[in-house]
């Protein structure tokens, strides 16, 4: 029997615990696969925890990451393997054996509860790599406060015991006996069906660019260091100060392309994100202090993502960030002030010297040495820079079947693209392993829930010492005694670590012996520990909502360390509050609804077809709806890629696969005419052409892939008036069709940003620069002597496309810049085309007389406003669909079960459309793979008797959930309610309550806290 006939293994290994690895793990685990998340450092999170804010929304990076970290950390089907590296992979796709090496942590993961006493007392201070060397940590440490797993680690290289053979203070202090100096390296192997690589990147080492003085001058920092300086959790607690003398810097310069677009440094690619992160850092610095004067030295501003150009504009106009288009030639430190004298050549070509307080080097992204070595060990092809090689039409597949890739290891990219690729790679793995879905996951059987509704409360209170974290400040026995005295409390106990495994057993015993029907734990924080205790409750047959926590550590002992008596008093109040609330909490039924395991994909272009195929591969039936009479959408107009792929043959191939796939039901000439339902249970009405008969579909998810098209710039640059003026796609068609006149042409002028980055369409269309370069190179193949001149504003050949920009220049394509306020003028003189332009670099007026003018025209969304209204999904001002979150939910709509991908989301390349389509498919699979979904819990419920049908809730709900039903009162669908409680707090009839946070409970908590005050 060959390996191919073996049953595939339903588990996947994800290598790299950054945002890509985390997203991939969550999507895999939520769609029926067991996941090993392998991370070489002591905790997952990657680079995102180090960042302060994220562009273009200025969301706090840690805040948006944290929920994913926590979910990852507590997921049944994700096993996080930290301090671990992959040594070797044997076997084939579907059936692989991975050898792993785990280096010692010296702290037992099962015993450590993360209380941090060890680190408090550890005598050794070490430069903190998490803070990029700007702060200090102890030799026993966690990387950052929210680290997952929340387990300490001994830094062997700095630990006093390991160096001098004496100390072991941490061991003595750890009441849980978690410290283990005898820990050793371990080697073992695991079997998986597939592997997803997400090893991430490193920042280019700026010491390699000696002219900037990094490592020599105090106040030259890397962009990542600057992130830490800006961060509220950073070494200066969010105070903007320069490392040299802690002075607040006023003039801050940013140097772009440090280790990018630099052939000398061996980096011929663009790192894609540095422009935006530098702008963000400049803006955030400005927000820290209005005094700051940021300046960014750049070559081209590459703000090619969704909403980026707008951000760039605001940085200039609202924040007054100064942008200077030039390269800095050198930096010299002023000996006394430690200020930096920067020399650069300005746009007029004159050398300028200017003094700055601080310089930030925008370092490029590069695959880490470890990642490259890993790639070699796995036998996958890497390109010259060490990025994983992939093709345009399968951007997520490595050269080795069964191993997929996502994130920066595949090429430089920003967070949303990384997240999309992570989800996308999950769809690839899932497509491979769908027959084994669910075979490795761990389910759990719980006892039947005890009925408690009409039984009076019997409350058990468990008070935690948390080692000395709580016990060292608060008089725990006294709090326990006090708890016993409270109404309806029938049992109280204290424990050294209430969260420890043995205490859980004790808790279960107490619940059954004392017939407890409500449980209060007074300990650390529900943020990290609530799920653990709720799990214990479920194991004893109690509804998980019958649990309440008093936060006497994070909100008491830790913050009132020096006021021990007050802290004990407050702890009692917090316990009293928890008990009073526990008396009122009710078990909440989570309604279990069947899922319609079918998908609806709207739009039959590349993205829609890719998503449909991926869903079909994953084992789902798909309805694919296309407005036109044929599939393929905008791809019919593209003939080849920049890299040379034959697009039309790929298109034919994919269309054939879609048409032949028995799981895909295609509706052409079809319109969506009505829509209702919620995740797992949608209903969509179609008018199916050409007969226009009505068809109703039931499905569990929706993917919107309605696409985009090239803007026809009628009236601009004589387009539509002179046939020698055409768009890039029109030119491409001629090249592809081999129109013979083309090779005879002498000169061509291409104009960039036609209809993009304008008042009307302020966004960058992202692909036009590479499109122009692509067609120029093709024309140069036809006729190497052809004069080609590209008039541009910024060349945005991001990522590896930079190489082709370099190539085009080498082949003699001329690039001339223009400003928005002096656009090129196109006229016809004596029958000849004439282009007038003011070159801002030379300040001269140029006049060109090309034979052809090619306009790099914007990408606009396909007509979609009616659909948006039907689906109740939002769009941007420009008419692209708007995702739930710009960074971390790039293909989700705010409404659960609805996704977007491709050009309908924003302009993008073929490979990016494909990645997103896979991503949407993977996200959809997290719902479709379930048999039932549980809805309810913390949701708003309406008391129809009280409801005045006033519509307040209908208007207030940010998710449009409430409706007035046929009986004339408000109805809130449990499956759609997000549980924010806005409706409840505005209902003038008090007819709405948010479960688990009912008014009665909040008032009782209030009363309990304020007991004895009056």
């Amino acid at each position: 029997m060959s390996d191919n006939n073996q049953r595939k293994i339903g588990s996947v290994m994800v290598i790299g615990g950054g945002i890509a690895g985390i997203q991939a793990s969550l999507d895999l685990a939520n769609s029926g696969y067991y996941v090993y998340l392998v991370e070489k450092s002591p905790s997952i999170g990657g680079v995102m925890p180090q960042l302060d804010k994220t562009f273009p929304t200025n969301d706090c990076s840690m805040c948006i990451l944290s929920p994913k970290l926590v979910e990852c950390g507590r997921h049944f089907n994700i096993e996080i393997l930290t301090n671990t590296q992959v040594e070797e992979v044997r076997g084939e796709a579907g059936n692989m054996e991975v050898s792993l090496i785990r280096s010692p942590r010296f702290v037992d993961e099962d015993k450590c509860v993360g209380c941090g006493v060890c680190a408090e007392k550890c005598p050794v201070k070490v430069k903190d790599r998490f803070n990029e060397g700007l702060g200090e940590r102890k030799a026993i440490y966690i990387q950052y406060p929210q680290a997952i797993p929340l387990v300490y680690q001994i830094d062997k290289d700095h630990c006093r015991y390991f160096i001098k053979g004496k100390c072991r203070i941490c061991e003595k202090l750890c009441k849980n006996e978690a410290v283990n100096f005898e820990d050793t390296e371990k080697r073992y192997a695991l079997k998986v069906g597939s592997i997803i690589l997400a090893p991430g990147f490193e920042l280019f080492d700026p010491q390699l660019k000696g002219e900037y003085g990094y490592g020599v001058y105090d106040n030259v920092v890397t962009s990542k260091q600057f992130e830490r300086i800006l961060s509220a959790s950073g070494p200066s607690m969010g105070h903007l100060e320069r490392p040299g003398d802690k002075k607040e810097p006023k003039k801050i310069g940013f140097i772009q392309c440090v280790g990018s677009r630099d052939l000398q440094a061996g980096k011929g690619y663009c790192s894609s994100v540095c422009c935006m992160y530098a702008i963000k850092e400049a803006v955030v610095a400005k927000e820290h202090s209005g005094e700051v004067e940021p300046t960014i030295f750049f070559m081209d501003i590459r703000a090619h993502g969704k909403g980026f150009d707008d951000y760039y504009k605001r940085a200039q106009e609202e924040y007054g960030v100064r942008f200077i288009r030039c390269m800095v030639s050198k930096i010299v430190e002023m000996p006394r002030t430690k200020n930096l004298r920067v020399t650069y050549i300005n746009e007029e070509g004159k050398p300028v010297e200017e003094e700055f307080d601080m310089m930030v080097l925008s370092g490029g992204l590069t695959p880490s040495e470890d990642a490259r070595a890993l790639g070699k060990r796995l036998g996958i092809h890497l390109n010259q820079y060490g990025f994983c090689e992939t093709s345009q039409f399968s951007p997520l597949s490595t050269s080795r079947p069964g191993i997929f890739v996502s994130g920066v290891f595949q090429g430089p990219k920003d967070i949303p693209e990384t997240v999309a690729q992570a989800s996308g790679s999950v769809a690839c793995a899932s497509g491979l392993l769908s027959e084994s879905r669910g075979s490795m996951v761990k389910g759990k059987e719980y006892p039947l829930e005890t009925e408690v509704k009409d039984i009076s409360p019997r409350i058990g209170v468990f008070v935690c010492h948390c080692g000395i974290n709580i016990g060292g400040v608060i008089d725990v026995p006294q709090v326990k005694g006090y708890a016993e005295s409270l109404r309806d409390v029938v049992y109280a106990e204290e424990g050294l670590y209430v969260c420890s495994q043995d205490f859980q057993e004790l808790m279960k015993k107490a619940i059954s012996e004392h017939n407890l029907n409500r449980v209060v734990v007074a300990s650390c924080s529900p943020r990290t520990h609530e799920p653990l205790f709720q799990e214990t409750l479920r194991e004893t047959g109690l509804n998980k909502y019958l649990f309440e926590m008093a936060n006497i550590r994070d909100q008491c002992s830790w913050v009132h360390m020096r006021q021990k008596e007050d802290a004990t008093k407050k702890a009692k109040a917090l316990v009293r509050m928890a008990v009073e609330n526990a008396r009122l909490i009710q078990p909440l039924d989570e309604l279990s609804l069947e899922i319609k395991n079918k998908a609806l994909v709207i739009g039959g272009g590349l993205s829609g077809m890719t998503a449909a195929l991926s869903l079909a591969d994953q084992g789902y039936e798909v309805y694919l709806v296309e407005k036109e009479a044929k599939l393929g959408g905008a791809l019919h107009d593209v003939y080849y890629t920049l890299e040379g792929d034959d697009v039309q043959s790929h298109l034919r191939e994919i269309m054939k696969r879609v048409e032949a796939n028995p799981s895909i039901h295609i509706f052409k000439d079809t319109m969506v005419v009505d829509f209702s339902g919620y995740k797992g249970n949608f209903e969509t009405g179609l008018m199916v052409g050409p007969g226009m008969f009505y068809r109703k579909l039931e499905h569990g998810i929706v993917i919107v892939a309605t696409g985009g098209e090239e803007y026809k710039p009628v009236g601009e640059y004589m387009y539509g008036e002179d046939e020698r003026v055409m768009t890039q796609l029109e030119l491409e068609k001629r090249i592809a069709n081999g129109v013979p006149e083309l090779s005879k042409i002498d000169s061509i002028v291409m104009i960039q940003c036609v209809g993009s980055r304008t008042e009307e369409r302020p966004y960058c269309s992202r692909v036009c620069c590479s499109e122009a370069i692509k067609n120029s190179l093709k024309l140069k193949e036809l006729n190497p002597k052809m004069h080609i001149c590209i008039l541009y504003r910024d060349i945005r050949s991001y990522g590896l496309m930079e190489e082709y920009y370099t190539l085009a220049r080498k082949k003699g394509v001329k690039f001339i810049r223009y400003d928005l306020n002096s656009k090129p003028g196109v006229t016809v003189e004596d029958g000849a085309l004439k282009v007038d332009i003011k070159d801002p670099a030379l300040g001269e007026d140029l006049s060109l007389s090309p034979d052809l003018i090619v306009l790099s025209s914007a990408i606009i969304p396909k007509e979609n406003d009616e659909l948006a209204t039907l689906l109740k999904v939002p769009r941007t001002q420009e008419g692209f669909f708007l995702e739930a979150h710009m960074k971390l939910r790039p293909v989700d709509f705010g409404t659960d079960g609805m996704y977007v991908c491709g050009l309908a989301h924003s302009p993008k390349l073929i490979s990016e459309c494909i990645s997103q389509a896979y991503a949407a498919s993977a996200r959809a699979s997290t719902i479709l793979s379930q048999e039932r979904i549980h809805v309810g819990g913390v949701v708003a419920t309406v008391n129809g008797d009280l409801c005045a049908a006033c519509l307040t809730c209908v208007r207030v709900c940010p998710y449009d959930v409430p409706v007035i039903n046929e009986e004339g009162f408000a109805e809130i669908n449990m499956a759609k309610c997000q549980g924010c409680g806005s409706c409840a707090s505005e209902c003038p009839a008090k007819a709405i309550d948010l479960q688990h946070f009912r008014d009665e409970q909040i008032l009782a908590k209030c009363n309990a806290l304020l007991e004895g005050v009056l």
């Binding site: 969301d59 917090l574 806005s982």
Partner: protein
Amino acid sequence: MRLNYPPNVKIIKVPCTGKVDVIHLLHAFERGADGVYIAGCLEGDCHFLRGNLRARKRVEYTKRLLDEIGIGGERLQMYNMSAAQGPRFAEVAREMTERIMTLGPNPIRAKNREP
């Protein structure tokens, strides 16, 4: 981050500041609280889209009510901060405590203490 703040500050958890009702705020003062503040997410960062903006409006309304009642609207505040702004949280706790110290006890409580 274990940053010290005054122990008189006690926290009632809600899923979103959008859940905070006028009556919750009044109730706290009715029961003798000297001051109440709402710590919501940064504006624009609401997980539930606009809960914190709704809360701010309700706080403004309740402040006026408290002025009418004679408790004083300045005893009620709305702050916006992110989960990563530990120092800001402690700073606000101290700021609010100082404000209340200056204002003195809730007049209801003061009256109750009179012999």
